[in-house]
């Protein structure tokens, strides 16, 4: 069991109903954590519509979680 910090922005912040939380998890990777949170909070975005940042850098979904990491799931950006 590790504890990570998750921050939410924009549409994910609204879906989650908060912008910052500590999460205790058994998830091994960033991707597993997102799937867990998605199911728990009924987030609508499939993982492949998002990117993930860990400790302020974009990282692959397969990145192993470490205790104390800060994760941000990045919804699609405006682009226009």
């Amino acid at each position: 069991m590790k504890t990570v910090r998750v921050r939410y922005f924009a549409i994910l912040r609204e879906q989650r109903g908060l912008d910052d939380e500590r999460v205790a998890t058994e998830a091994a990777t960033a991707g597993e954590l997102y799937d867990e949170l998605r199911a728990l909070h009924r987030l609508t975005f499939p993982r492949d519509g998002l990117r993930v940042a860990i400790n302020e850098d974009f990282e692959p979904w397969s990145t192993a979680l470490r205790d104390g990491d800060t994760l941000v799931f990045i919804p699609p950006v405006a682009g226009g």
Binding site: I74, V77, G80
Partner: protein, 151 residues
């Protein structure tokens, strides 16, 4: 710093003054402004929300890439956060170079990459009172499945 985010109105005159350099024969600027309409819907205002540390880091990376790809003399880029009204300046890029092809190409590279890569989200407020996060083809569906327009 070549790239920064700000919650205040962008003062382009002051920024331009910082780009004065007699090695530069060309300066190309891009201004992105709040339009009165998007995809046929009247817009009355919008909010930009950014994941600040990553947006700054990625913005600086984009500028560094442009400097590597093109022969540039100077670059400045500023992106707004917070609430903007119609006509307000949302993002500003200025690139100087010895000659104009590099200035045009560098400016365009920077704005295209910034729009596609930086964790900055735009919420549009429409004339009818509705609001919506504006998404883009780069990242996923235009609206998450199963959700209607959010207020």
């Amino acid at each position: 710093m070549d790239f920064r985010l700000t919650g205040e109105a962008i003062d382009t005159a002051a920024l331009m003054a910082a780009l004065g350099d007699t090695r530069a024969g060309a300066c190309v600027t891009f201004e992105g402004r709040v339009r009165q309409e998007n995809l046929g819907r009247p817009v009355r205002a919008l909010d930009y929300e950014a994941y600040l540390p990553l947006a700054e880091k990625e913005g600086c990376k984009v500028v560094a890439e442009a400097r590597e790809k093109f022969q540039l003399v100077g670059v400045l880029c500023v992106h707004r956060t917070g609430s903007l009204a119609l006509g307000d300046l949302a993002v500003w890029v200025a690139v100087t170079a010895g000659h104009r092809p590099a200035a045009f190409d560098g400016c365009r590279y920077i704005i295209d990459e910034i729009k596609a890569r930086l964790p900055i989200w735009k919420k549009e407020h429409y004339g009818d009172g509705e609001s919506e996060w504006v998404n883009c083809a780069a990242g996923g569906p235009a609206r998450p499945p199963g959700r209607g327009k959010k207020k």
